[in-house]
Amino acid sequence: MSTLESILWHILGYATMPFIFIVGFIGVAAASLWLLSMTKDKSDG
């Protein structure tokens, strides 16, 4: 693997880390909102 390729993979890899956390947050938020919608947060319309 060339140095350039290694640098590119490292950039992509490190950029993926916050992406993982953001996707995790969105997933947990969506699941939590869905659960809440069945109880206290029932929407009126």
Binding site: G13, G24, V28, A31, S32, L35, L36, D41
Partner: protein, 191 residues
């Protein structure tokens, strides 16, 4: 688009639920997500997963000391080929997306194709291990706790000099420790 708008509206308006309930849901949800994520990561570290593309080379380790030995301590594919540190592991996993392309193209989907590419694949791994000072070897084989009194003469001679000084790293000498060697013509240190 409509779903996104609904989602955003729900996120940005106050909830009727208690703060404690919301925090607990987030906490438990976070634990479940992290557990699921790492379970998925470990699933791609299993020997069965690696074998699904790399079957010929996974079979080769069965002839070696890393597969079976008197103590039962062994290494599987990911112990040597996937970094243990989380950040380095993620970089390697992202890099593995390139291997999905190779899988889709059938680059090594026959034994003959694999054998033709063995040297190239070996060189890549040797270079990677050289660059990180054979970290995956050192995850189990700690130099500071090597007992030279139970090593062979040649091992003592090499470990106490070139390895100790940092002039060499494990992979410089221990190529082929777990897999059959490719054609070693032109490989540094293997004349």
């Amino acid at each position: 688009m409509k779903l996104l708008r609904i989602f955003w509206r729900r996120l940005s308006t106050p909830s009727k639920a208690a703060a404690g309930a919301l925090l607990a849901m987030g906490f438990v949800g976070g634990i479940l997500f992290w557990g699921a994520f790492n379970t998925g990561m470990e699933a791609t570290n299993s020997e069965a997963f690696c074998s699904s593309c790399h079957a010929p080379i996974v079979l080769e380790i069965r002839e070696t000391i890393h597969y079976a030995n008197r103590s039962g301590v062994r290494a599987i594919c990911s112990d040597c080929h996937v970094p243990h540190e989380w950040t380095d592991k993620i970089v390697r996993k992202v890099q593995a997306s390139k291997e999905l392309v190779a899988w889709a193209m059938g680059t090594i989907d026959t034994v003959e194709k694999f054998e033709a590419r063995r040297g190239h694949l070996a060189e890549r791994e040797w270079k990677r291990m050289k660059l990180n000072n054979s970290q995956e070897c050192r995850n189990c084989h700690d130099f500071d706790y090597m007992d030279f009194s139970v090593q062979g003469q040649r091992s003592v001679a090499q470990h106490s000099t070139a390895l100790a000084s940092g002039e060499k790293t494990c992979i410089d000498c221990h190529k082929g420790i777990a897999h059959r060697l490719p054609d070693m013509k032109g490989v540094e240190g293997w004349q």
